[in-house]
């Protein structure tokens, strides 16, 4: 696990507006290791999404550095499914490949294989609006991993869903990223979710945010996220994280 895939060094980010400057991130540093599931949690408005925007290259207006290991390919999944309702399920999942001009027969077959493997085989030609919330989120994840990324960023991927669906989808997504051996950096404000899916949880301080604490999550009988919630250590981690965020 100690194979470093990304290191973040001393990131600083502020938002400037007419009414003044708000420092969102001040001196943020951490490392990410290959194959791990890292969650970043913090109170709302502490700049969690900003971190993902910077790391994914969407936001270039910051100070500090981050370095990916050579040839690391990354992609992004948002809170809203942000699918294209005028396209079919298959066309939606191919959009990344299309933009990156990698729509080869082989890659298309890979995406079809993913859709089949994760229960969407019969829905390939269905329009998006005919799917349930959970299925949409699975389509969005397959779109994210269709380009075969080594690392994916998840920005509150479950928060638009109702509680039942949310548990189920987090199980689904956990299974998929583990099976496809993808490193994950997930941003969330939900403590239970973070503990149940993560190998490590990084707690951000209130604004301006920096790393407050990093916890290795060691649960006995670690299995699926839903089962992990029943682990004896779960409550202990919950209390610790709760205190950390609240302080």
């Amino acid at each position: 696990m100690k194979n470093k895939i990304l290191s973040v060094n001393n990131i600083f980010k502020s938002y400037n507006s007419k009414s003044g400057e708000v420092i969102a991130i001040d001196g943020l540093s951490f490392d990410v290791y290959k194959g791990e599931f890292l969650s970043i949690i913090g109170s709302s408005g502490c700049g969690k999404s900003t971190i993902l925007n910077i790391l994914s290259g969407l936001d270039n207006d910051y100070e500090g550095t981050y370095t990916f290991k050579d040839n690391v390919n990354h992609s992004y999944m948002l809170q809203e499914d942000a699918l294209f309702p005028w396209l079919s399920v298959l066309e939606n999942t191919l959009i990344g490949l299309k933009i990156q001009k990698k729509c080869t027969k082989e890659n298309i077959d890979y995406v079809k294989h993913l859709l089949a493997k994760y229960g969407l085989k019969d829905f390939m030609n269905t329009k998006i609006n005919n799917l349930s919330g959970g299925m949409k989120q699975r389509v969005a994840l397959i779109r994210t991993i269709a380009t075969k990324p080594d690392l994916i960023f998840l920005d509150e991927p479950f928060s638009a869903l109702d509680y039942q669906t949310r548990l189920k989808v987090s199980d689904d997504i956990y299974r998929i990223v583990k099976e496809e051996k993808i490193t994950v950096i997930m941003v969330t404000h939900n403590i239970s979710e973070a503990i149940s899916v993560s190998d490590r949880v990084l707690v951000l301080s209130k604004r301006p945010s920096k790393v407050k604490n990093i916890y290795e999550i060691n649960l006995s009988n670690k299995s699926t996220p839903i089962n992990n919630r029943k682990a004896p250590e779960f409550q202990e981690y919950y209390d610790k994280l709760w205190k950390d965020i609240d302080e």
């Binding site: 994914s56 992004y76 948002l78 942000a82 959009i95 299309k98 933009i99």
Partner: protein, 260 residues
């Protein structure tokens, strides 16, 4: 099917039938009363005309052989104005979407131009462009294009930000973002703008024909009023009604075929 569902469907169907019936009845009633009052001599048909005469006038215009030509003149001018408006307003809207600064610069101009009664520009158009078809078409474009630009550019700006963000994370360039997210998100809005445009263009063309023309339905109406032939005036209006219904329904049927 449950009793309640059956009852619901029955009520629903009754309501549909009732609405259609009243709609048709109203038209027949108005025409009937008009015709009746005219026949009984209670209204002066010299200034009100009457449905049967309007019908006969239209038939006669057909037989004399130049009605089709008038329709064609008005229709072709309308379609030319409509296509130019559509293409230019989509193009300008994309420019305004791409540049927030440009959009903010031109915003007050668009608002002012929108509230200017375009018909006031008629005399200038005739002097600059000449008393010909071109000024008529320009008049129609002026009437429809500002509203069209405003509604389309607002739609483009309101495109779902998450969809754009997703494309950016895959490395999409501006053109790909337009092609995969912005334009398809706004198909419906663009078709709706077209529906409004086709009506406005027809209005503009008739207004232009009132100002200067040698043919067209607007010319027929104006000519009719000058020689005090109200049958001709009313016939022109009826033909315009039919034309606007047809143009509108063509675009509606295109909308139904667009899967969005």
């Amino acid at each position: 099917m449950s009793k309640r569902q059956e009852l619901f469907l029955k009520k629903y169907r009754h309501k549909q039938v009732f609405i259609k019936f009243v709609q048709i009845f109203l038209a027949v009633f108005i025409l009937g009363v008009w015709e009746l009052l005219a026949r009984l001599g209670l209204i002066d048909t010299f200034i009100t005309s009457e449905p049967s005469k309007i019908f006969l006038t239209i038939i006669n215009l057909f037989k004399e052989g130049n009605l089709l030509e008038h329709i064609w003149v008005t229709l072709s001018e309308t379609l030319i104005a409509f296509f130019i408006t559509g293409i230019v307003s989509v193009f300008v809207s994309i420019l305004l979407y791409r540049s927030e600064t440009l959009s903010r610069i031109v915003d007050p101009y668009l608002t002012i131009l929108n509230s200017l009664p375009k018909v006031a520009l008629g005399p200038i158009l005739i002097i600059w462009i000449g008393a010909n078809k071109r000024s008529i078409i320009v008049m129609a474009i002026l009437i429809s294009i500002i509203v069209s630009i405003q509604s389309i550019s607002v739609g483009l700006k309101n495109t779902n930000k998450s969809r754009i963000k997703i494309l950016k994370t895959f490395g999409a360039n501006e053109w790909e973002i337009l092609r995969y997210a912005v334009i398809p998100s706004n198909y419906k809005l663009i078709v709706n703008a077209c529906k409004i445009n086709v009506g406005l263009c027809l209005i503009g063309i008739v207004m232009g024909e009132f100002l200067t023309s040698k043919a067209g339905i607007g010319y027929l109406i104006l000519y009719g009023s000058q020689v005090f032939n109200l049958d001709l005036v009313m016939s022109g209006i009826v033909i315009l009604l039919v034309m606007s219904i047809l143009l509108y329904s063509i675009i509606s049927s295109i909308e139904k075929h667009l899967d969005c």
